[in-house]
Amino acid sequence: MRVVVQQEPFDFGAEAEAFARGQTGMGAVVTFTGVVRDLDTGGLEAMEIEHYPGMTQKAIAGVAEKARDRWSLGDVLVIHRYGRLAPGERIMMVATAAPHRKDAFEAAEYLMDYLKSRAPFWKKEITAEGADWVAAKDEDEAALDRW
């Protein structure tokens, strides 16, 4: 299991390739990448991501451990950035490997659902009009109910 929390960009293609290459006996590799998306109304200048340094790594590793208890998994990778990101930049990625595709998909979705609502990150949207903290969505909290 590898958990990386960093300000710098990461190389998605190289990370995905290295992750997949490192697996043995795994038939399925799933990756998810989150990208800074412009607002539906346009005008996003930047996304600022704040985090809680002492807790972040621990919280993510805890979620990844739970995923490994629950599914038959090979490796798990989580990379999450903080700081100021421009639209189009990649915020984070997860990768999961498993003997079978169902486990790899479910574990990746589980990781994403928990990272959304249980890892200590907060997003702020910067536009010409000012800055607004992103509100947590009810649907993200509801997404945890299925696990």
Partner: protein
């Protein structure tokens, strides 16, 4: 006890962390002490349903006991991923 604030909680209170001397037995009691201090704390803690708390970097609820806790963090619901 170290008390940390993140996101708009940090902005409303105007600082990221402070050391607090308290005899509060629970998180809820600590919140009441902080609210009584100044308007900016009152503004930050006005609606507890909009807040989350971590004790020594683990998510807990507001009735959790503070005994033995070194670090308390207050923040809005997380929006990672």
């Amino acid at each position: 006890m170290e008390v940390l604030y993140f996101a708009w909680v940090r902005e409303r209170i105007g600082l990221p962390r402070e050391t607090v001397e308290t005899g509060a037995a629970t998180v809820r009691e600590l919140v009441e002490e902080l609210r009584a201090r100044e308007d900016r704390y009152e503004a930050a803690f006005a609606d507890l349903s909009a807040l989350r708390v971590a004790l020594d970097q683990e998510l807990r609820d507001f009735d959790a006991p503070l005994e033995g806790v070194r670090e308390v963090a207050f923040f809005p619901p997380m929006t990672g991923g």
